[in-house]
Subunit: 172 residues, 2 copies
DNA sequence: CAGTCAGTTCAATTTGTCTTGAACATGATG
DNA sequence: CATCATGTTCAAGACAAATTGAACTGACTG
């Protein structure tokens, strides 16, 4: 069976993209990698960041050459995190999306949605650990107690540092 | 076909683990998830964190029930990041590992190895983007310029915030 | 209503990452 | 040296996450 070269399998999706947009998308795809966020989300945000008018889903699909499902899911995530907002466009019942560009809101949403819930669980793990502290072999009990104390300190620190951090980011 | 329950597929690897150790490992596996670090690395660090004596690779393998390759690679990562150090144990030519427990070193190493390099690249992406700014359609040039300015501000902020952040973490 | 349009959902597939295990160093030991 | 002990590397396989596409929901329209 003959393999079709990948580059020909989709019609060049970025034909409609300006160089500025392409580089923007690049940049945000790279950013997404750092945060372990799906590539498609980086692409979508990058495109919106680089586009002056709000775009409907369809436009995103065809300019990026990704599926409707991906765009729908990606936009949901971006909405939840507050990285994107839907704006009304008169005479068009489709939703149109534009990028939220305030670092405060971006970082804030990301931390609130992605990190805070985990930190909450972190507390649960810690308390379950603390329960074991009593059951530990006497010879090790001091060691265990120290380690637990240290963990509690870390936890308290992160929980407190988050809002502080957000305040600093807010001043940009 | 009858499915073998996953819990029986490996001989219970944690037979040699205390409750304290198990909960510690749990906690760090969870932490690893947050940072998108491989589970096995969380397990290894968790075990070392919960163990008073330095452990050789072999002990880690059998207590966690993971392969030699995984442990070797996991330890390398942890060493590079400074989360673990090899200590000499007299009369034993094997390397013995113990956990580094200072948040300053952990966070510092992680940021230095995992984040900083990315930020460096970030600068490259940004400058390539800036090049496109001139080529952009006149009608959009002001929009593009604004967005680029904003990105540069973000970038400058993160680059400067990193050492500051580390200084704060250092005081814990 | 039947028919379109906009958007969501989710099972199946694709893609990418982690883990394994066997082969390969390296170096100590008799 | 041959052998054993310790540790690394890497291709192949197992696993997990992202993406697709088709089926679906609901809402508007003539």
């Amino acid at each position: 069976m003959i393999e079709v070269p990948k580059s020909e399998m989709r019609p060049a999706p970025d034909s409609a993209l300006s160089g500025f947009q392409r580089e923007c998308i690049n940049l945000f795809v790279h950013g997404a990698q750092i945060l372990s966020i799906p590539r498609s989300i980086g692409e979508i945000y990058g495109l919106l960041y680089a586009t002056a008018e709000p775009l409907p889903m369809e436009a995103i699909m065809e300019r990026l050459g990704i599926s409707k499902g991906s765009v729908s899911q990606g936009l949901r995530w971006l909405r939840e995190v507050g990285a994107v907002r839907a704006t009304y466009v008169k005479g068009d019942r489709r939703d149109h999306y534009e990028a939220e560009t305030e670092l405060r809101k971006l970082a804030g949403g990301f931390l609130r949605e992605q990190i805070e819930p985990h930190l909450g669980n972190g507390g649960d793990y810690l308390s379950r650990l603390a329960l074991e502290a009593d059951r530990v072999h006497p010879a090790e009990s001091q060691f265990a107690a120290e380690r637990i104390t240290k963990l509690k300190r870390w936890h308290r620190f992160t929980v407190r540092a988050l809002p502080l951090f957000l305040r600093i980011v807010g001043r940009i």
